[in-house]
């Protein structure tokens, strides 16, 4: 019953487009008690983290952007979390530190970190916390996007999004 309620709330959150933190309601062990396959049309494909509600810390030379990542319900669908910029930093990037999480890592998962659009991304699947210089010395005052996809066949248990963070260091 609790599981059904959680799922219902999840669908409701998707319907209204809320970035609701659902982490903690599901873990890897829960996924063993049954596979729930939702139609692709229900999958929340993009979450926009609002600068007004997100935790944005600013200090000289760096900016932290956080948001709750998408919950992955379906395979072969790209789910994204957009972390918009809140302050007009003009300095060129010196590194981008990232931290992403899911309630469990499905087989076939690939995670990307993108700068500005999904046409400029790097793969960050192997490290849930790390840093990259791939976007240096581009400007920092653009959105950053975390993108998730599970490339596989069959159905899957939902992998619930957790708090994701990028710290943008610039000169």
């Amino acid at each position: 019953m609790k599981r059904r309620l959680t799922l219902g709330l999840t669908i409701l959150a998707m319907a209204v487009g809320c970035a609701t933190d659902l982490s903690g309601n599901e873990d890897e062990s829960d996924s063993e008690d049954g596979v729930i396959a939702l139609p692709d049309s229900w999958a929340r494909q993009d979450i926009q983290a609002s600068p007004s509600t997100g935790a944005i810390d600013k200090s000289p030379g760096s900016e932290s952007r956080t948001g709750v990542g998408p919950t992955i319900y379906s395979k072969n669908v790209l789910y994204t979390l957009t972390l918009p910029f809140a302050a007009p930093h003009a300095g060129p990037l010196t590194s981008v530190v990232y931290n992403w999480g899911l309630s469990y890592k499905p087989a076939g998962l690939t995670v990307y970190l993108c700068r500005n659009t999904t046409s400029t991304c790097v793969t960050i699947t192997s490290l849930q916390s790390g840093s990259t210089t791939a976007f240096n010395p581009q400007t920092s005052n653009v959105p950053f996007i975390l993108a998730f996809i599970v490339s596989d066949t069959g159905t899957m248990s939902p992998a619930f999004g957790q708090t994701d963070q990028v710290i943008i260091n610039h000169s």
Binding site: L78, P92, S95, T118, C121, T123, S131, S171
Partner: protein, 164 residues
């Protein structure tokens, strides 16, 4: 009056200078009269060749020791990754592609570039440790690391958006 072919004026682009050397000619060889010719490179020509994209950043690092320290550490310890275009994947019209070439990302290509990245990362970390131990300034270490990046194969340079 036009003077061309002036020698000893300085400011010669090392790359252009290298291109003008006869390719089959060794750096040291005997001329027809038996006198040995020697090619001596200026300090500018021996300086690290930093990719164009990073020259501004290098200049900033030389003026800001803290920035130089941060950048040198970052470049020595971060893997250089291919840039990937997900726009077709997002639209559901095609696979992920390499941003620079438009070639689809495959398991084989991923593995090949991963090996190149890992090899470069090992060499970069080793260079960083060695230069730090020698007391080299962080800005100069950064230049060496960026030069190492610039000396990678054309294929790898292209795929990580350094140009060729």
């Amino acid at each position: 009056m036009t003077v061309s072919g002036m020698r000893g004026t300085g400011g010669v682009d090392p790359a252009a200078r290298k291109d003008r050397l006869p390719s089959a000619r060794p750096a040291s060889s005997s001329g027809a009269n038996g006198i040995e010719d020697r090619v001596t490179l200026s300090s500018a020509a021996r300086a690290p060749q930093i990719p164009e994209k990073f020259r501004g950043m290098s200049g900033q690092a030389h003026a800001d020791p803290k920035l130089a320290e941060e950048l040198a550490y970052n470049y020595a310890h971060s893997e250089q990754s291919p840039l990937i275009d997900l726009s077709d994947l997002e639209a559901g019209t095609g696979p992920a592609k390499y941003a620079a070439t438009g070639e689809p990302v495959t398991a084989e290509s991923e593995l090949r570039y991963k090996e190149m990245s890992a090899s470069l990362l090992t060499a970069s970390a080793s260079l960083y440790s060695k230069e730090k131990a020698n007391g080299t300034a962080d800005a100069d270490i950064l230049d060496k690391l960026l030069s190492m990046l610039g000396s990678q194969s054309d294929e790898f340079r292209t795929i990580i958006d350094l140009g060729t």
